[in-house]
């Protein structure tokens, strides 16, 4: 520890990087940038553990390019500017070759310029609002078209829902998702008055009024469903209130995009059976590769009760893609990896293969699951094939003409097909 301090003090304060480079010859360093304290620790700590497990497994297989992988873990403490600072520290001081991390949109936005400036790699594992494609970032979570729209389709076709409550936490992911959904629903002929949109703050804990509003909205004689983009912590009190208020999935189903196995682990799910979630992976996926993954996870974490979830699978896919791309390029150099990784295809945990697309999003199956009494999801519907992540939504005015392709010669994250130029929609 003394050595670390000296190293940091020198690098950080006294202007020396001499010692910093010494270890880089023997290992390939991988940065893990997930909050281990603060409000997001609840979700992100698991991902840090998942990364450590993946790196350990890779080392058991002999490492990468003949070198061992070394994880560098830092704690950005759910503090968004600190994410940028820690990203810079990982890249400049620790000289990592790739970073796996971030959860919230704002933490990703905060680190983007750093990765761009220092030309490093970020693998971002969480479902997000889209409307972004950056050369140095790989989006291994779902874009809105890989989660939200299929879920709404399911409810419309299978459950015959005609009236919609779009409830979300007031930040950019729910805002965008709801905007896309609203446009989509209207295009399907749903009337304005059959859509109710509601936003709440982060960590909202008193859901009495909103649940009763939902109940009232649902008593207008049409089949009603709730599309929930409520974030993390606020879900537990929301579902508790829902369960106690006696809103049954058979009457008003709730489909959530941010509720996975991990969130359910904090809940008594008996009253919630039948409520839905849309993801690209469920722990209940009945495949051999998933069984192995779960087994490895339980062994690594030393707890049979710990669940796996979708962002973990995203890291699993992202990490394997990076490993494969590095092997293909024969180097960890960022530019070489960025060129090599497009088109790389690795197994996902639901029995298929996911591929990195030129827009730095990946292909995924979409699964709709119903909550079971044991806190797991049962897949009730899935897409027949893989869905390609769409960086720019077709349902938003500002982005419907935009596409992204990071291969030469286009190499552009926001190419406008209407004007034929790179650089957004212009005006």
């Amino acid at each position: 520890m003394k050595k670390t301090f000296t190293k940091f003090a020198l690098a950080g304060l006294m202007a020396s990087t001499m010692i910093g480079g010494a270890a880089a010859e023997e290992t390939i360093k991988v940065g893990v940038l997930h909050s281990l304290s603060g409000t997001m620790a609840i979700s992100e700590t698991t991902l840090k553990d998942a990364m450590l497990m993946l790196i350990e497994e890779q080392n058991k297989k002999g490492g990468l390019l003949g070198k061992k992988l070394e994880a560098v873990v830092v704690d950005p403490a759910s503090d968004w500017p600190l994410f940028a600072e820690k990203a810079r520290e990982l890249i400049e001081v620790n000289e990592v070759d790739a970073v796996f991390g971030a959860w919230t949109s704002v933490s990703r936005k905060s680190v983007l310029p750093v990765f761009e400036e220092l030309n490093s790699l970020l693998f971002y594992p969480v479902q997000y609002e889209g409307e972004e494609s950056q050369r140095n970032v790989f989006y291994t979570g779902a874009a809105p078209n890989q989660q939200a729209i299929p879920a709404v389709d399911y409810l419309m076709n299978e459950e015959g829902v005609e009236r919609w409550v779009l409830a979300g936490t007031d930040y950019v992911y729910p805002r965008t998702t709801n905007k896309i959904l609203e446009a989509y629903l209207k295009s399907k002929g749903v009337a304005e008055e059959d859509i109710m949109i509601n936003y709440t703050p982060f960590g909202h804990s008193d859901w009495q009024t909103i649940v009763s509003d939902i109940k009232a909205f649902g008593s207008a004689g049409k089949k009603t469903a709730v599309v929930s983009t409520i974030n993390g912590d606020a879900n537990v009190p929301f579902y508790k209130e829902l369960g106690n208020a006696g809103i049954k999935a058979e009457d008003i189903p709730v489909v959530a995009f941010s509720v996975g196995e991990e969130e359910l682990a904090g809940l008594d799910t008996a009253p919630l059976v039948g409520h839905l979630a849309a993801w690209n992976y469920f722990q209940s996926a009945d495949t051999d590769i998933n069984a192995e993954f779960i087994e490895a996870w339980h062994a690594f974490i030393g707890d049979e009760e710990r669940v796996t979830n979708d962002p973990m699978e995203a890291h699993f896919i992202g990490f394997n893609m990076w490993v494969k791309a590095v092997e293909k390029a024969g180097t960890t150099d960022a530019d070489a990896v960025i060129d090599a990784i497009v088109g790389v295809s690795v197994p996902n945990l639901t029995g298929g293969y996911s591929a990195m697309m030129p827009n730095h999003h990946i292909t995924k199956p979409v699964l709709i699951g119903e909550i079971q009494e044991d806190g797991q999801f049962e897949t009730v519907w899935e897409t027949s094939g893989l869905v390609v992540g769409d960086a720019w939504s077709d349902y938003l005015d500002g982005s419907k003409d935009l596409i992204s392709d990071w291969r030469a010669p286009m190499s552009c994250g926001n190419f406008n097909t209407a004007t034929g130029k790179c650089g957004g929609s212009g005006s």
């Binding site: 670390t4 690098a11 304060l13 873990v73 600190l82 810079r88 400049e92 001081v93 409307e131 950019v172």
Partner: protein
């Protein structure tokens, strides 16, 4: 008049402090820009930005110390002024992006395009001009502080009541800025800045420049605070801190004095925020979090309340500890940081600077008493202007406040 006012700010102690800061302002950017990377004296850009951030925090701590250390107003909401200054700067930087945003809209920032805003809200006008934004950096926090202080001090809200309503203020602002409908980018805040006054914000030269600007702002504000605390006004402030109602009976309008330093302090916090934002590259409502304001108070307490140098030192030390702990002990750093706070409170009750100067005073006192024994029959005493002298007379355990007739006074 003005020159004597500033002249008052200088003495040996301030001189040393300013010399150290001045050296940093010159050496750090030089070490980054002119020393080759291979040299052991090269300062990495990462370190420049990090230290630049510390300096803005130090300025914020200085602002808090001015109101709390000298006037006894315990603000648990100073991060609000910091964040407002930051937002004013962020809005300028946002407007500078122009067509380089992902949607390429020349006027509207990305988040507005994205949420289908058709035109720029009125309160965004003018922020494309630096002078306007710079003015807003001090005016917005200043006016908010003035209005808030005008009511609160006139109503004689004091002690813990004042502290809690400052907390309510920052919490309310947190929630307000968090709303996407407000037009400040919601939870994501303002980010993806490109350039500042035409300089690329990611260039090493700009970073070095920002570091130097933060350092200079800190020196200037330090001198202003120093001049204030050493003027008669400073004496009135301490009088207000120690015996507010007595000061009133002497004919001083306590509320005016409070309002003056409070507003000034808010403006300094705003400047700190404005310098902070381009260096970290993002401003979002998280900066308004009440916990941030509490942390600032802790920096000041660790460094030494009522000593301007202490506030600066405390801010830099605690943040350095945080940077180091979060990287070296990512899993358990909260134990270390929490433990640090407890230990400092228990063993360094006057903060680092307070304790050091207490020791210094004790030494001097011994010397003085030796002198007295030699030639004078007056008893030795603590020299004036020394917070440590007060420490000597603090009884080890005075009675706890009484319910009902004396509410707890965090501001003492």
């Amino acid at each position: 008049m003005m020159s004597s006012f500033l002249f008052r700010a200088m003495d040996a102690r301030a001189g040393i402090f300013i010399a150290i800061l001045g050296a940093a302002i010159v050496l750090v950017p030089a070490g980054n820009l002119f020393v080759p990377e291979s040299s052991p004296f090269h300062v990495p850009t990462y370190a420049v930005t990090l230290m630049g951030k510390y300096l803005t925090y130090a300025l914020l701590a200085l602002a808090v110390d001015l109101v709390w250390g000298y006037c006894g107003i315990l603000s648990l909401g100073h991060a609000a002024f910091f964040a407002l200054g930051g937002y004013a700067m962020g809005m300028y930087l946002m407007r500078q992006i122009g067509t380089r945003g992902v949607y390429g809209d020349p006027i509207l920032p990305d988040f507005m395009v994205f949420l289908n805003w058709q035109e720029l809200p009125w309160y965004w006008y003018g922020f494309d001009m630096f002078w306007f934004a710079a003015l807003m950096v001090v005016l917005v926090p200043g006016i908010l502080a003035f209005v808030f202080g005008w009511f609160a001090f006139r109503s004689r809200v004091t002690g813990v009541y004042l502290s809690i309503i400052t907390q309510a203020l920052t919490y309310a602002l947190l929630l307000a800025f968090f709303r996407n409908d407000m037009g400040f980018g919601g939870n994501n805040g303002l980010t993806d800045f490109k350039d500042l006054l035409g300089f690329d914000i990611q260039a090493d030269t700009t970073r070095a420049g920002l570091f130097a600007a933060s350092g200079i702002a800190l020196v200037v504000c330090f001198l202003i605070c120093r001049a204030i605390t050493r003027s008669k006004l400073g004496k009135v402030l301490v009088a207000v801190r120690d015996a507010e109602s007595r000061t009133r009976f002497l004919g001083y309008r306590v509320e005016h004095y409070k309002l003056f330093v409070w507003t000034l302090s808010a403006m300094m916090a705003g400047i700190a925020g404005a310098l902070y934002v381009p260096q970290v590259g993002i401003i979002n409502p998280g900066e308004f979090a009440p916990a941030n304001s509490i942390e600032v108070v802790i920096w000041v307490a660790v460094g030494g309340r009522g000593t301007l140098v202490g506030a600066v030192l405390g801010a830099v030390l605690v943040n350095f500890a945080k940077t180091w702990f979060t990287a070296a002990l990512p899993e358990i750093w909260l134990f270390a940081l929490g433990g640090l706070f407890v230990v400092v409170t228990l063993f360094l009750p006057k903060g680092i600077v307070g304790t050091v100067s207490q020791g210094w005073t004790a030494l001097r006192q011994r010397k003085i008493s030796a002198d007295y024994e030699a030639g004078s029959d007056d008893p030795p005493s603590a020299p004036p202007h020394s917070p440590a002298a007060r420490a000597n007379i603090t009884p080890p355990k005075p009675p706890a406040p009484v319910p009902g007739n004396a509410e707890p006074q965090p501001a003492e």
